[in-house]
Amino acid sequence: MSESTTPPLAELVRQVRKTREYKRLTDAIPYTRFMGIGVENLAGEMLCRMAFNPRNIGNSLIPALHGGTLGALLESAAVFELLLQTNTERVPKVISLTVDFLRSGKPQDTFAKALVTRQGRRVANVRVDAWQDDRTRPIASAHALFLLSEP
C-alpha cells in the first residue's frame, strides 16, 4: 500500500525523530493528510495543528467544527506524542478514548498538545488538550489508553 519511495513506518518514525521533518510522517498517513493534521515545533514545543478546512464543519449555522474532527485531532496528537517523544517501536494501538467537548470549535486552525501521564511496558496513558486562540481556554480534552506491544 505504501509507495516504493516511502520507507516502512517504523524506519520513517526513527528518521523523523532525528530530523524533525514531521511532514514526512504526517504525509505518509492518508487520514492525517486528508484532515490537514500536522506536527510542528513551536517555541521548542511539539504541537499538533489541524488546519481549518470547510470540509471539517459539523454545524454550518454556527458555524462549528464537527466534534469528530476534534476527536481525530486529539487522538492524532496522542499517537504522534508516543511515536516521536518516546521510544516505542511500533505504532501504538488505541484501547479507549474519552473526549470532553468544552466549547464549540470555531472555523479556524486548532492546536493540540499531548502529555504522556504514564508509560508502562504495555500500556500508555495520555492526556490531550485542544485549543484555538487561547490555550488557557481549551475547546476539547481527552484521555486515552494505548497498547504499546503484544505480549
Binding site: P30, G68, K93, F101, S104
Partner: protein, 150 residues
Amino acid sequence: MSDDFTLPEDKAERMERCAIFYTDVVPHNHALGLRLVDIRAAEATVELPYAENLVGNPETGVIAGGAVTTLIDATCGTAVFLKLDRFAPLVTLDLRIDYLRPARPGIVLTCVADCYRLTRQVAFVRAFVHQGDPGHPVASAQGTFMRTEE
C-alpha cells in the same frame, strides 16, 4: 407541536428528513461519505464506507480512529433526534470509545446508536460499531449530549 423541526411519523419520510444531515447540512459527514441506512424509535444506523484517504495505518490499511469517532458522534446525534421526535440544537458533552477488536481494512463500518435515556436537558446514548456481524462489534461507545434550546 408541528413545525419544520418536528419529525414526520411515516418511517420513510423520517429517514429522508434525518438523511439530510449526512447528504447536505453537515459538511464533514458528507466528506467522510457517511450514510444513514436505517432508523427505529430511538435508534439510528449509519455506515462509513471504506476509503483509502481515511486510512490511519498505511501498513495495515485500517481506517483511522478519528473517522470512527466522527461516525459514532454523528450516529449518536441522529439517535437523539429520533428519541426527541424533532431536530433540536444539540451539543456533544462527552464521548467514550472502546476499541474492542481491530477493524478489518476494505470493509464498511456500521454504527448503531441507541438513545436510551432522555431528560429535559441531557440525552444518554450508547453505540456499537461492527463490520457485518453486530454480535462482534469492533468498538463500543457511550456519549452524553445536551439540548441547547430554551
